[in-house]
Symmetry: C2
Subunit: 212 residues, 2 copies
Amino acid sequence: MQDVPTFRQVRFLEKRQQILDSAARLFSQKGYEKASLEEIAARLKLTKASLYHYVRSKKEILFHIQVQAIEEAVRALHEVIASDRDPVEKLREAVRSHVRIVTKRPVTNLLKDQELILPRKLRTRLISERDHFEKIFQELILEGVEKGVFERGNWKMGAKAALGALNRIPMWYNPKGALSAEEIGDAMAEFILRGFGVTIKTGGDRQGEEKP
Amino acid sequence: MQDVPTFRQVRFLEKRQQILDSAARLFSQKGYEKASLEEIAARLKLTKASLYHYVRSKKEILFHIQVQAIEEAVRALHEVIASDRDPVEKLREAVRSHVRIVTKRPVTNLLKDQELILPRKLRTRLISERDHFEKIFQELILEGVEKGVFERGNWKMGAKAALGALNRIPMWYNPKGALSAEEIGDAMAEFILRGFGVTIKTGGDRQGEEKP
């Protein structure tokens, strides 16, 4: 069991989290390269020197942002798996909750190029966190396959396709767009479930369908 | 009609293409940030000064690599659409050919962060090229929807899911991996076709399926 953190420690972690959240927004607006530590500090009315009290470098900030996003996704997935729904409802809920995470967190999109920026140690940890997430997602699919609810086919490639579709959302998601994150989650869940061979009756124009 | 290029012009374009191809490989290995113009030049036994004869900057190289990849994808898609196959076979072939392109070209994965690096003018052109590609892909899907072969549901979101799955492939594709690009293309095509409601009988273990 971990020791209860002191008030000072809690304050430290809260401040650090503020820095990470603010940096994530800035990265997503300007891109990682153009965002400077000075600007991250200025946005929080900190000096650059006091920023260094909480984080060592821009790379470390990037690393923590990415890892936190994956950890949140892993927690959400564990929760879904632990529930006593059937595989179809589990996958639907897993997709919906993942869409919520990738649309809420501005920098969840793991960019290969950004990973290459990281020092080897951090990069290795990041990749292993992501692999861990993918493994849990695969378990969820495999459960459905073994129960005969999902098509076996090449189910691992199906899992890759599903995660690719979801993790690509931050590339085009627009909070002011025609569809809300919830609607995107529903539509993605239907597409992915069908991809695994589940028959789904769609409601036609129900989901914000528009004529081109 | 364009004038026939002179021998000198052809040589110039060939050399320029060599530079772009070599740079693409380097970007994909080290990441865009860490790759230097010096190294790109050195790999082709050019001086940096003579490299500047062909390209103005690293950003311009990145831009051309991305645009060429999209242009190739657009050409492939046009070819598929012009053929007299039914919508199912068109979509299957479109997916297969897109997988061929994204696995062959090391930097096809349009990274939002990389786009933000580009000067506004180049970025705008890149985004419009990508939108153009997506529009053609949507037309292909819509044809199937209107013929009643694909589920209408939220077909635009389905198109986004499909392209997301495909454009994310460079993040995990390993040329030495268990599945060839062709096998990945086949599996992706099946998953995506099912996503649009097409019933597909899968061959079970046929496609490199392995026990976990």
